[in-house]
Amino acid sequence: MSMTQQAAPAVETPPASGPKQSDGRTAQRPLALKLLARPEVGVFLGAVAVYVFFLAAAPPVREASAMANILYQSSTIGLMALPVALLMIGGEFDLSAGVAVITSALTASMVSYQLSMNVWVGVISALVVSLAVGAFNGWMLVKTGLPSFLVTLGTFLILQGVNLAVTKLVTGNVATDNISDMDGFAQAKAIFASTFQVGGVTVKITVVYWLVFAALATWVLLRTKYGNWIFAVGGNQDSARAVGVPVTFTKISLFMLVGLGAWFVGMHNLFSFSTVQSGEGVGQELIYIAAAVIGGCLLTGGYGSAIGPVFGAFMFGMVNQGIVYAGWNPDWFKAFLGVMLLGATLINLWVRRTATRR
């Protein structure tokens, strides 16, 4: 306490600018380790392993048409796994994603059929409904501060009940009426559910959308402000808010993005099959979440990629179809998935620990 006191504040010079070199305490990590630290590397190796396994076990898989089929299966999961993955990186998840797809398809189908309007009226109404469901989820989450598990579990149950009850009420049936002869159907089908030929193999358009959207999502995630905000709100919401990230906007828009995905897949289902079964979609939400987790997204948020879930969805499609091509009992599918999920998570965990250890 007998410190000498200065009459004026101690004016100090700012620290000198360091030379353009390291202080020698941090070594460069090897390139291989840097690569392994990427969230999608583990799932990429896993997808290759599953692919090689079925190439050996199920000879029909080697044909191009089988691959087109596998990719189609993967794309229907992958299209939804993308927004679900972004949401997960943003720190939340959405249990209503599976039934929301059916809600969207039912809305489009019933609006256009019951009102005898052009199907595009139904498509737009479905878009509005899907975005509204997403916005509701996000708004509830932000306003109440409840965990997204509870909020979306509620929405999941509501939508599941509404899907069944309203369909029964309107059509008197468990499925919607066939809308394939309505105005605009061909046009909408060309956009949402067309096919094209590549070297004699029929490829579904959803495969293209899936890969294009994945590329877009990757760009947004890594190269835009919004992507930065997604990582930030998932990694540390309070810090993000404190430095000026619009947390409420980011969270609500992420839920609406899931709504957009549900609308897109719902429209694909509707225009592929012309009719919608009101009880479908239950359980799909877990498949989407599993694909995102297998794809290297951290369940607690703040870490992941948009490419990982592409491989995650591919693994699902591969196993789903591979079992059929191998001639095994398809009942094994879910068991396979469980093993894959656990395996992939363990690999991801191990890879991340090894690669980020300093």
């Binding site: 306490m1 010079t13 000198a16 930030a232 990694g235 540390n236 993000a240 808010r241």
Partner: protein, 303 residues
């Protein structure tokens, strides 16, 4: 100062502060209640450009509440909060940032899994190109972050490493460098030296001095009177949510400041009580006159 000229490149307002003596930030009888708990009451505080205002206080004195009001995390429930002489009610930290008030929080407000450079620019990212192709200007951000960190004396060869892998002191310096870079006019530091070693504390204090010399108003929250006295121009001591002391540097010595920090008047009372208990040697304790410094203490502190 020569090494800090790159600061001028910051995405900040470079307005010359008003010279008519209006404080940049001023609190008048401000307070905050959380439900029926009064965390802060009747606090007066002025922040002038080029001055360091130190806010001292023990744990639970209301220091953090005070910062949260000024930085826009919480709204004050009583009194007035003025920026450049006009009353404001911030509802988000963004609004405070837009008025040139930047804060380094005690928990540093970093996202551990994100790379250093992304953390540095989080919430104020640099972009290039026109919408919808507007994208992050990664090159420029990395270069700027690197320069700013070097000015702080931190050399990181891999700005891509997650900020969670840095040491506490390094993270603190990144957070301060970020706030200095973005804080155009007022910089709030919430116990920046609390978790640091001697040498790193010195670096932080130098940076506070540098920020002051650049014309920033600095609010330096600490419970270390020695650190406060090294750079402070004005000292305010908070106790139990009220202001016990508010004095310019010319009216207070380090001893007095330390005594106030240690409880000042309360210690004197404690000494008096102890004197009545047999077996306690009060002769060794400091005299009462030393404990109650003759400074402009506000009356609330005695309650």
């Amino acid at each position: 100062m020569a090494t800090n000229e790159s600061q001028a490149a910051g995405a900040v307002l470079k307005d010359t502060p008003p010279t008519d003596g209006t404080p940049t930030v001023e609190l008048r009888r401000a307070g905050k209640a959380y439900g029926n708990i009064r965390a802060l009451h009747g606090v007066d505080l002025q922040v002038h450009p080029g001055k360091v205002t130190c806010v001292l206080g023990d744990n639970g004195a209301g220091k953090s509440t005070l910062i949260k009001i000024i930085s826009g995390l919480h709204r004050h429930t009583e009194g007035e909060f003025l920026v450049d002489g006009e009353p404001v009610h911030f509802s988000t930290p963004r609004e405070a940032l837009d008025r040139g008030i930047a804060t380094v929080y005690q928990d540093l407000a970093t996202v551990p899994l994100m790379p250093v450079w992304r953390n540095f620019f989080l919430g104020s990212e640099m972009t290039k190109g026109a919408w919808p192709l507007r994208r992050l200007d990664i090159e420029k951000m990395k270069k700027t972050a690197d320069e700013e960190l070097r000015n702080m004396g931190i050399v990181l060869d891999d700005l891509e490493q997650p900020i969670g892998t840095l040491s506490g002191g390094q993270r603190q310096c990144v957070a301060i460098a970020r706030a200095v870079y973005f804080g155009a006019r007022v910089l709030i530091l919430d116990e920046p030296t609390a978790a640091l070693g001697v040498k790193q504390s010195g670096v932080v204090l130098k940076y506070i001095a540098a920020a002051r010399d650049r014309g920033l108003g600095v609010i330096f929250i600490t419970h270390n009177p020695h650190h406060a006295y090294m750079v402070g121009d004005h000292f305010s001591v908070l106790r139990l949510g009220t202001m016990e002391l508010s004095a310019p540097r010319s009216e207070i010595s380090l001893e007095e400041l330390t005594n106030h920090m240690a409880g000042g008047a309360e210690l004197a009372a404690l000494k008096h009580e102890l004197a009545q208990v047999s077996g306690v040697d009060v002769e060794e304790l400091p005299e009462e006159e030393d404990l109650t410094a003759s400074v402009a203490a506000t009356s609330e502190g005695k309650s």
